[in-house]
Symmetry: C2
Subunit: 139 residues, 2 copies
DNA sequence: AAACAAACACAACTTTGTTGCATTTAAAAA
DNA sequence: TTTTTAAATGCAACAAAGTTGTGTTTGTTT
């Protein structure tokens, strides 16, 4: 219900390496497109509980390793942060694309310029475009 | 589960005016910020079933009267379309702001420029910035 | 090796939105 | 005006996505 994370203000807690976490990070690394929690649960080869997946993803987001976009149906899609995510105070100002046909969401290498918002404190952003992707258009 | 709408390709069906619909549109008109289905259900004075509210909102979106943004928690926030929504093929290329404190989402009068996406068919977009709004910053 | 807390599993739950079907009702047709 | 028709609604049951609580496991530090 509360997928927002306050960044890295909360002191970096001690972190432990587990098989499950490594497996999830590897999945995200290998994936060209974003992954939903469900995608991960259905793809991962080690046995991991769904609650664990959700909490893990929250931790990754909090740590700035991963970012997510919510699609038009309200589902969260996760992707590893790249170097470009880290520019300008960890704001993810690149565009995402959600395909109505294959339902996948991908990060696009397109940065959007956002003017300063007077009197607002901007912590993060999600830019989503919706339509039909390259692959699905060809079919 | 499927909040996307294919625009107006489906022939404009006969539309009927009902008290409920008028009431919802009036609520949206009066509201400075976007409203969730729940907001509407809790605010509206005439008795309307929640299913009706959801279907109604879908119809309004399909008709281009209303647009919505999904917040970081995956919840849909609806707003009346203004004249500015109708520019450039009914794409809603203005920015929205979600406040982490009051949890409200508002339309901002800020248009974002999006370059053409080669080989992609863009039907719509959702631009969301997240942080602390003007009012909540003052408290 | 012992201690500690991060990470996990499991079950129950919440929230948001959907589906199917019967009923009502706005508006067109008779 | 009355009849007809399908758009709009109501209701109940359901579904998907994510969360909470609690007890257990297990990395890491001491």
């Amino acid at each position: 219900m509360y997928r927002i994370v306050i960044g890295l203000e909360n002191k970096m807690a001690v972190v432990r390496n587990t098989k499950a976490q490594e497996a999830v990070l590897e999945l995200l690394q290998r994936s060209k497109k974003t992954l939903t929690a469900d995608d991960i649960i259905n793809t991962i080869d080690v046995s991991v509980n769904k609650t664990t997946i959700y909490r893990m993803l929250d931790r990754f987001v909090a740590a700035g390793k991963v970012h997510f976009v919510t699609d038009t149906a309200g589902k969260a899609h996760y992707a590893l942060c790249t170097s470009s995510c880290l520019q300008s105070h960890s704001l993810h100002n690149h565009l995402h694309f959600q395909c109505k046909i294959c339902n996948q969401v991908e990060c696009l290498p397109v940065k959007l310029e956002v003017p300063e918002l007077e009197n607002y404190e901007v912590h993060d952003m999600q830019f989503l475009s919706v339509g039909i992707c390259f692959k699905c258009k060809q079919v």
